[in-house]
Amino acid sequence: MTTLIWIAAALVVIGVYLSWTAGRLDRLHSRIDAARAALDAQLLRRASVAQELATAGILDPAASMVMYQAAHAARQAEEEHREVAESELSQALRAVFAEAPQVEAVRQAPGGEESLAELTQAVRRVPMARRFHNDAVRAARALRRHRKVRWFRLAGHAPFPMAFEMDDEPPAVLADRAGH
């Protein structure tokens, strides 16, 4: 009889532990969802500001076209091409704002100061949001690879989380924090 009680007690403890682990995993998945939503918002914001600047007629026609093309592609990209399109937008931004005089020209234009502030904020926040997202992905992956999660299928049907890999290096002139 005592053996049975012990077995029952052990099962209850294991059950509670597994349910707690499933809760942990669930929380990690919702953290990834929130981080991904935040990353999407920042990427969209960046593409919008870039497109706005490209169509405002402040930059020279060649730079405008390069930036418009990249921003448009980033906004319209299918999920599987998203990382490449966003990386290309980063490269385009770096190419257009390669020198300080370009930034100065934008600043002089009417409304340029605000646009530039928005762009600076966007290129600063994209890497942030991406780091937070990938950090959540790493934590979830570490837990999902664990035996207890695999054997008891605690993750259910949730897809295996993927990191968002892209080139998010901001243009050097905009990243220089000392100038502000």
Partner: protein, 386 residues
Amino acid sequence: MRIGIVCPYSWDVPGGVQFHIRDLAEHLIRLGHEVSVLAPADDDTPLPPFVVSAGRAVPVPYNGSVARLNFGFLSAARVRRWLHDGDFDVIHIHEPTSPSLGLLTCWAAQGPIVATFHTSNPRSRAMIAAYPILQPALEKISARIAVSEYARRTLVEHLGGDAVVIPNGVDVDFFASAEPRPEWQGGTIGFIGRIDEPRKGLPVVMRALPRILAERPDTRLLVAGRGDEEEAVATLPPEMRGNVEFLGMVSDEEKARLLRSVDLYVAPNTGGESFGIILVEALSAGAPVLASDLDAFTQVLDQGAAGELFANEDADALADAALRLLADPARRAELSERGSRHVRRFDWSTVGADILAVYETVAAGAASVAADERTSLRARFGLARD
């Protein structure tokens, strides 16, 4: 935004993390945010209106020194009440790996949590042992901030994952506009830090001082910080002891005036620094800085462009560099000018904007902070009793 900040160390004891949290809270309040700071404090300590006491911290031996920590039922209950009353959009935990309030809050809360890692201590045995318990609490953190590239590297090595680097903030103009004091000017070297804490490096200066005085006998060393003054000068020949002036503990205003007055500020710290806020303050005041080449210091000084570096613990190198700088006013002016320009990135206007950007990034698309109900589920099974 409603922001809850958790300070792990006692509010009664002055320290870098406490000052950082105080300045951050005041900066955010000035910008119109609602801020509440949960900190350990004695019940009779006068607290600023934005600080909520989490009870008295208990001194316990931890990690080789006596730390004042908060744990146990009472603290956990206060954390829960604070979370419940505050209804925060985001909470910002400092030093979440120290076994104190930060860890308790991490354990008890859910929702957008930001954490700042200040120290870059090598992984302690306690942390290795507690890792399986620590991990579920730490994985609730939505965004990690490291105070320097060096702190970020240790964090990534020990806990995995990634963090954004946001340096500690300083009110640059407060230091830049302080009035120099004439009696602290003219051939003076400044040192600020605990006298009896060897890691702050005063012994290195004392070893270098005889050579500096041999060449420039009028040099004075001004030391601000608490500790045993007689013991500090014990290694110095008696006739040189008069060249060392102890100012004791100084107020923020006096500190700023001291930094504005000295010809050279030395930071001979031998280790244990993950950021070096004092260097940033010295640069803000326009003091030429000579610092040991710790990783964290090298980074703050922009690889030596904003201040000179000497080989750590090498008193001769310190003496050489100090003599060279004291003899060369043009170089000192150049360092001061470069430092003042470089230090702008550490001003609260920049640092505060970055921290707010982190808050907004994690709070977007997430529910507000709440007490974690799962803990009470476990409590029902009798597994947790908080």
